[in-house]
Symmetry: C2
DNA sequence: TATTGTTATACTCTATAACTATA
DNA sequence: TATAGTTATAGAGTATAACAATA
């Protein structure tokens, strides 16, 4: 069991390193890519909404949006009905980048699972579900 | 396949959050715990050796060791045969903490896998091995 | 000359708290 | 009063580069 946990942790680390390298190729850090990912799912969003989605404080969002504006990925647009708020909105480049992230995600899933025998894949995902359920019990 | 990747990523995130909470209870951050873990495996080590083990620069080790000395987990002892080097060495508290980390690790593995049916566990670990192998191919 | 660990400097991410403008 | 986002300040982790002491 300890070995299984070690391999799960190894998977997490190597996966993170690999994904980080891909993000850097697209001019993003992990945190900035996370924001781009959520913005892609939600459409133009207030910074409050993004803070909730990413689980960080509004102050952290200010920094991430500053960097993404600087990099030409997003703009801050005035909220149509609340002059306190801004709507973080993709530029063309941001849109392209978000779609690229999605392609990377699909491609990675294919590389990891694509040529895995169906029975192995089912066994893996079944175990994964059980582990995730246990983990959520622990956290609660 | 995309869903399987998403669940692997979810596992990584929740596992990391859970372990981080446990580390904080022991007065450690993730990076400092990583150093403690390696020191436990290797015994008293030079900062160069720790930099290699953790995959960071010697400068980063200086900061981590400073914090661990401050927290009473380790001391810097003179190297017996090389006056340039220091041997990072556990205090009693550091020793106890390292053993505590090991117990936490075993306990977590037990919670995650302990009551899993043997066939489910085997299916999971087999899939895990395949995924890890694919991932290491990708990274290479 | 090469290595060990330091200081100097900088960047990313995060947090809390005080503040401005608006609701 | 409450909310959206900012500035101010701080801490953790990391990197590169220049440097001192020692090998």
């Amino acid at each position: 069991m300890r070995d299984a946990l070690n391999r799960v942790l190894e998977l997490a680390v190597v996966l993170n390193d690999d994904m980080t390298r891909d993000l850097e190729r697209r001019g993003l850090t992990g945190s900035r890519a996370h924001l781009v990912w959520e913005l892609h799912r939600r459409g133009p969003s207030t910074q409050q909404a993004l803070a909730g989605a990413l689980g960080v404080t509004p102050r952290a969002i200010t920094g991430l949006v500053d960097a993404l504006v600087e990099g030409g990925f997003v703009t801050r647009e005035p909220h149509p009905r609340d002059r306190r708020a801004t709507l973080v909105t993709f530029t063309k480049r941001g849109e392209r980048t978000a779609k690229g992230l999605e392609r990377d995600h699909i491609e990675l899933a294919g590389k990891l699972f694509g040529d895995m025998p169906a029975t192995t894949f089912r066994g893996f995902t079944r175990g994964l579900d059980v582990v995730l359920a246990r983990l959520h019990e622990i956290v609660t």
